[in-house]
């Protein structure tokens, strides 16, 4: 494997020029990179803000109505008074 001689370009400028099509080639790769980073980085950022938000709510819930939460979902069935 000759990693150096395999390279198709003799100079960096030539590499940048891409045989005259630098705009198209670099635009495609630029878009590609943006596309990948956005779709990886946005979920990561969202995760951070989500965790922050959830923790804030957790502490709020603990302070404000920790006891009330447990009372949810109860019910009671009875005969109404005054039936015949």
């Amino acid at each position: 494997m000759d990693l150096i001689s395999g390279i198709q370009f003799d100079s960096f400028a030539e590499f940048l020029d891409m045989g005259g099509y630098s705009f198209n080639v670099w635009a495609v790769y630029g878009l590609f990179v943006v596309f990948i980073t956005v779709n990886l980085y946005v979920p990561v950022l969202r995760r951070k803000s989500l965790i922050r938000d959830l923790k804030r709510r957790q502490t709020l819930a603990e302070q404000a109505h920790g006891a009330e939460v447990n009372s949810a979902g109860r019910h009671k069935l009875e005969e109404a008074e005054g039936n015949s």
Partner: protein, 215 residues
């Protein structure tokens, strides 16, 4: 109509039964391990504070909402196996009254009752005058007041052959008179062997009334 007008259930299982129902909305537990049964001739009032899940429960009962766990049985069979028979024997009146604004009370009732039972024009007119809409039969419903529109939907109760009535806050916007008349209708239905499930914040006086309080 006599008692025999309602279909009987096999081997004496209750008319309608709910076992171990559990429902969450938005990760908020509304109820769990909820079980009750209702038999012909009885009435069930579902009470509870605002947001305790009354409307949700009624919609689950009717099959409009399937976000629940647990069994619902109709005349002893699973409701989903009996869905057509159940539909033929159920009458649901929700928060929204099911009254088209451009049609007249008569035209509305002709369709809404007609889906479930064959009715004659005379029966339609009688039902409307029974709920106090005489003289309004042919006015378009957008000219009716909130309570009058509610009455149009209540006229269905007088025509429906359904055994099980499920009513979500039917007393709202009714005046004192109409409230009394509706209570009488419910009592009559139960007496004839029907069953009623109703939510209201109002103090109901019915014979054989069970009360289920949520929340």
């Amino acid at each position: 109509m006599t008692d025999t007008s309602f279909q009987h259930t096999p081997d004496n299982s209750p008319l309608f039964e709910v076992c171990n129902l559990r429902c969450e909305r938005d990760e908020r537990l509304l109820f769990s391990a909820l079980s009750f049964a209702i038999n012909p001739g009885s009435a069930l009032q579902i009470a509870g504070s605002n947001g305790s899940g009354k409307t949700t429960l009624l919609r689950i009962i009717c099959g409009l909402n399937d976000g629940f766990e647990g069994q619902i049985r109709w005349r002893g069979f699973d409701r989903s196996e009996q869905s057509e028979a159940f539909a033929a024997d159920l009458l649901y009146l929700g928060h929204r009254v099911g009254v088209n604004k451009v049609l007249s009370p008569l035209e509305n009732l002709r369709w809404s009752a007609g889906l479930q039972v064959k009715v004659s024009e005379a029966e339609l007119m009688k039902a409307l005058s029974d709920v106090g809409l005489r003289g309004f039969e042919e006015s378009p419903c957008y000219t009716l007041s909130a309570g009058q529109q509610q009455r149009v939907s209540l006229a269905r109760l007088r025509l429906s052959p359904a055994t099980l009535w499920v009513l979500d806050e039917p007393f709202t916007t009714l005046d004192v008179d109409a409230v009394a008349r509706l209570e009488q209708t419910l009592a009559d239905h139960a007496e004839k062997g029907g069953a009623v499930i109703v939510t209201t914040h109002h103090k109901l006086e019915l014979p054989k009334l069970q009360r289920l309080t949520l929340g």
